[in-house]
Amino acid sequence: MEYLIHIAVLVCLYGILGLSLNLVVGETGLISVAHAGFYGIGAYVTALLLVGLGMNFFLAMALGIIASGLVALLISGVISRLRGVYFLFGTIGLNIIAWSIFLNWQSVTRGPLGIPSIPRPGIWGLDLYQNLQFLFLAAASLAIVYFISVFIKKSSFGRVLNSIREDEEATQIFGYATSYYKLAIFTIGAMLAALAGALFATYITYIDPSSFTINESIFIFSTIVLGGLGSSRGAVLGPLLLVFLFEGFRFAGFPSEIAAQMRMLAYGFALVLLMLYRPKGIWGTFRI
C-alpha cells in the first residue's frame, strides 16, 4: 500500500509537470525542453530556504515559485525571439546551463553532494512525514494546477495561445502583442514546474543535480506527447501511464541491468509509434 502511495505521489508530481509543460508546448506550440531546469530551480530554492533558514514550507515554496518565474521572465525575453526548432535548441541550452549551475555553484548548491535532510512540511497538525498525508498535499497541488490549467484554457488568453500556436503572424494582425503572451505562458509554466520541484524536494528529502538533467526534460516532454498535446486530461494521463510503465518494469522480472534500458526502449518506441500512427497522442486536441 505504501508503495502504491509512493507511486501516486510520483504521478501527482509528474502530472503537475505535464500540465505545466502542456501549457507551453501543447497550448502555445513552443517546443520547450527546459522544464527540468525550472523544476530544479523550484526544488533548489525551496530546499535551500528550508534547510538553511528553517523557513515555513509554504513561504519557501512560494519563494521558489517566484524565483523560477523571475528566471523564466528574464530568459524568455531572450529566447522567445527564437522560432520553431531554434527555440527547441535554445531551451536545450537553457536546461544544460541550469544544470551546470546546480552542479558548479557549489558554495550554494553543494554541487554533486546535493542537499540532504530536507524537512517534510507539517501543517495544521498533519504530520506530512507520513506518505499518505503527503499524497494529500501532492494531490491537492495537482488539483490546483489542473484547475489553473483549465482556467487558462477557457479564458480568452487561452484562445490567443492556441492562435499563436498555429499562426503567430496572423495573431499579431488581430492586434495581439504575441511576445507578451509567450512571455506570460512561459513564466506561468516555469512557476508551476517550480511548484512540482518544491514538492519533490520535500518528498524525497534529498536533491542533487542528477534529477534535473536534459533527459528528465525529455521524459516530461514525452509524457505529454503520449497523453496528447493541448489536453489537460492528456497531460495527467501521459505521466500516469509512463510512471506506471516504469515502475511496472521493476516487477516484470527483467534482470535489473536490462530493466532500466527496457524502460528507455519502451518509451522510445512509444514516441516513434505515436508519431507514425497517432500524432495527436491519446487525448490530444492538437496535432503538431
Partner: protein, 386 residues
C-alpha cells in the same frame, strides 16, 4: 474547449486496463510477501546495477548472493531461508529513494544492504529510518554519513581517514608542496578532496583543482592547464575507474608523466592498474585493505572465483559486503529479524571477525580503524614503505 474525441471511450478502456493490470502486478508482488515471522527472511539490497558504477554493483550483488547461498546451504538462519531482493539505486539519490521506498513499504524488509555509493545511501537512510529498517553499507564512505542515523552503520571507514593518510604521506614523506587535483563532480570525490585539501594545506602545501562532471570525455585542455601549473604530483580523484582510464590515456597522449596519487576507487580496479602499468608505476594510493592472509578472505576469494569465474575485484568493498551478510545473520539470530532491534544491536558489534578483518562499530555507526597507504608497483598495489 476540450472536446472529447471519438477515440476517447477506447482510451478510457485502455487506461482502466493499465491501472488494473498495474494494480494486479503490484498486489501480486505483494500477495506473496509472508509475514516477518515465518517463511524466508527477505533482505533488501540496493546497489548500482546499471550505469557507470555498475562495475561495483555487479560484484557487489554476486558477493552478497554468495554469502546468502552459503548461509542457506547450511540451514539458513534459525531454520529460515534467506532471500535477497535486489533493487537498482544507480548510485543516484532519486533512484536510491525509489528503491528504498519499494523495499521498505512493499517488500517490508527489516534490513537493507547498501547502497554502494554515498549518493544513494544518503537518500536511502531517511526512508529506512522512517520505516524502522536498518541500513548497512559496505562501501559508502562519505563523511556526511557519520552519525546520520541510529539505523545506519557501515563496516567500512569514513573517507576522512583516506584523505588524511594521503595528504600526510604526500607532504611529509614525499615532500610534495604543490599537488594538482582533477576531481570528478560526485559526492565521494568532493568529500575526499575536502579532507585531503584541509590536511594538505594545513601542513603548508597547496592544491590546484579542476573539476569535471561525470559525462565528460575530453580532458585534454583541463590536463594541459594542470600540466602548465608544474605540480609535484597529480591526484586523480574519480568515482569510477572508467574516468580514471580516460584521464590516464589522455595524459599519455599529452606526454605528461607526473607523479600520481590515486584514490582507492581506481586503485582497486585491476584492469586500470595493469593497462596503465607504466604510467602508474610508483603511484601513491591508499586503500582500505583487508589482510590478504586472512583465511576467511582467502576462502571468499577462491569461492568467488569458483562460482563466477572471475577474480574478486575491489576487495576493500567486497570483503565488507560479504561480512555484512554474516553480521546480519548473527544479529538476526540474537535479536530476531527486526530493524529496530538490529539497529540497537549494531552498536554493540565489537571485534567481530570476518573476511575484512576485525570489525568494530563505533557509536556513530562507522567502522573503527582505517586506511593504509600503498604504492603501485608493476600493475599491483603493495604496502607503502617509507
Amino acid at each position: 474547449m476540450e472536446r472529447v474525441n471519438r477515440g476517447s471511450a477506447l482510451m478510457w478502456v485502455i487506461v482502466a486496463l493499465v491501472v488494473v493490470v498495474g494494480g494486479f502486478s503490484i498486489l501480486g508482488g505483494k500477495g506473496g510477501a509472508p509475514s516477518t515471522e515465518t517463511g524466508p527472511i527477505k533482505i533488501g539490497v540496493i546497489g548500482p546495477l546499471t550505469g557507470d558504477a555498475a562495475i561495483y554493483g555487479e560484484p557487489f550483488r554476486n558477493t552478497v548472493q554468495l554469502a546468502i547461498d552459503e548461509i542457506n546451504a547450511t540451514g539458513g538462519i534459525g531454520g529460515r531461508q534467506v532471500e535477497a531482493i535486489y533493487e537498482d539505486g544507480q548510485c543516484n539519490g532519486k533512484e536510491g529513494a525509489n528503491a528504498a521506498q519499494k523495499l521498505v513499504n512493499v517488500d517490508k524488509v527489516q534490513a537493507i544492504i547498501g547502497g554502494v555509493c554515498s549518493g544513494e545511501t544518503l537518500t536511502v537512510v531517511p526512508i529506512a529510518e522512517k520505516g524502522r529498517v536498518v541500513v548497512v553499507s559496505p562501501s559508502a564512505s562519505s563523511p556526511a554519513l557519520t552519525g546520520i542515523s541510529p539505523y545506519f552503520f557501515r563496516p567500512y571507514p569514513s573517507d576522512a581517514s583516506q584523505g588524511n593518510v594521503l595528504a600526510n604521506i604526500a607532504y611529509t614523506d614525499k615532500g610534495w608542496k604543490k599537488v594538482a587535483v582533477i576531481q570528478e563532480q560526485v559526492d565521494y570525490a568532493v568529500g575526499l578532496y575536502k579532507v585531503f585539501n584541509q590536511v594538505f594545506s594545513g601542513l603548508g602545501g597547496k592544491t590546484v583543482k579542476e573539476e569535471f562532471s561525470s559525462n565528460v570525455t575530453d580532458f585534454r585542455s583541463v590536463l594541459t592547464k594542470l600540466k602548465a601549473e608544474k605540480p609535484d604530483a597529480l591526484f586523480v580523484l574519480t568515482q569510477t575507474a572508467a574516468s580514471t582510464q580516460r584521464i590516464l590515456k589522455q595524459m599519455e597522449e599529452l606526454n605528461w608523466k607526473p607523479q600520481i596519487i590515486l584514490d582507492e576507487a581506481s586503485a582497486g580496479d585491476k584492469e586500470t592498474l595493469t593497462t596503465y602499468k607504466s604510467q602508474l608505476e610508483g603511484a601513491l594510493t591508499s586503500e582500505f585493505i583487508p589482510d590478504l592472509s586472512n583465511a576467511k578472505l582467502q576462502k571468499l576469494m577462491s569461492d568467488y572465483k569458483a562460482k563466477y569465474g572471475t577474480e574478486l575485484p575491489y576487495l576493500g568493498y567486497m570483503a565488507p559486503a560479504y561480512d555484512i551478510v554474516y553480521i546480519l545473520k548473527d544479529g538476526i539470530a540474537s535479536v530476531g529479524y527486526n530493524g529496530e532491534k538490529l539497529a540497537t544491536w549494531s552498536r554493540t558489534i565489537k571485534d567481530w571477525q570476518g573476511a575484512s578483518g576485525s570489525v568494530t562499530i563505533s557509536s556513530d555507526g562507522d567502522r573503527v580503524g582505517g586506511y593504509s597507504s600503498e604504492v603501485v608497483h608493476d600493475g599491483k598495489t603493495e604496502p607503502y614503505k617509507k
